[in-house]
Subunit: 205 residues, 2 copies
Amino acid sequence: MNQQYPSALLEKAVGEFAKLPGIGRKTALRLVLHLLRQDVSAVEAFGRSVVTLKREVKYCEVCHNISDTDVCQICADPRRDASVVCVVENIRDVMAVEATQQFRGLYHVLGGVISPMDGIGPSDLEIAGLVRRVADGGVREVILALSTTMEGDTTNFYIYRKLEKMDVKLTVIARGISIGDELEYADEVTLGRSIVNRTVFNGTA
Amino acid sequence: MNQQYPSALLEKAVGEFAKLPGIGRKTALRLVLHLLRQDVSAVEAFGRSVVTLKREVKYCEVCHNISDTDVCQICADPRRDASVVCVVENIRDVMAVEATQQFRGLYHVLGGVISPMDGIGPSDLEIAGLVRRVADGGVREVILALSTTMEGDTTNFYIYRKLEKMDVKLTVIARGISIGDELEYADEVTLGRSIVNRTVFNGTA
């Protein structure tokens, strides 16, 4: 449908919303018209929230996670085990691991994975900072928790080559059959790995 | 997943996005993190677009459509037929009818339909303005193009009662089987109406 906007201001706002990932022009129009029905103060609060975030947010000096302070809450927490560092791609992965409540160490946010196709090389990521953290001492184990893609595997291998001479244990998160999944629907690579990497069963899952 | 936000600023921005219709907290986070990866100027342009729209947009004095000027482009266009007025619920309906390129008259945007359940009565809508437009003369036909719901039908009837004594032809958009639809999947009310309101077939659809 070729839409003729009755207002240039409306068209501009719809255009801005339609730049967001997964938001088409029809959805953008719906969102903008929704905002237009709100009070001026509510619309201003909306617009301000994202500008303020962009202007004032910080990235933790230690792990590069998003933060309101120079060192993030996780890195500053004395109850957490600073000798274990979990390497992740981005902020959402930190939130995902935190949500499991299974990890009490610290993080290192790379900001992506090595992807020559997208022009992302090791120098575009926070890998040098990770090597420095390990070199500074106090890190006993580095857990690689990147995507199980070719890019993730490449990045894992790059980090392995950088850290292999150092006195640190390098581990990778377990890959296997998802809990609740049926075997017949699992892809053969995953199923194969889950057999090779089988763990001792002591009567409870 | 109980998400712990690493930054209060991030949480605030996600909260604002999650107020939008159809946007959950996970999608909101994805959108906010996308914006965070853009330049400050791009984020400011985004935030400003919607605030400017809310502050500066006007509603056409004649038809109440959204507009950048006191009288909208459609009402100000001398090539359009001012004697035919199409009554619609909202701005998106104007855009939808315009996109068909089948209508060369003017519009009247009600701002909704009568809905006692939502506390919307005739006085909350631009019905008085419509009656005034007809009373002022020059309007030959009023086309009712509201939703085919109970609320739409109620509003149609209310407008009918207001205009029945006046010298104006009142019509309603055709209801029938959608083009491309199969008969067996049409609901019986629609199918029934499409038979009652059958039109003369002259060899071409």
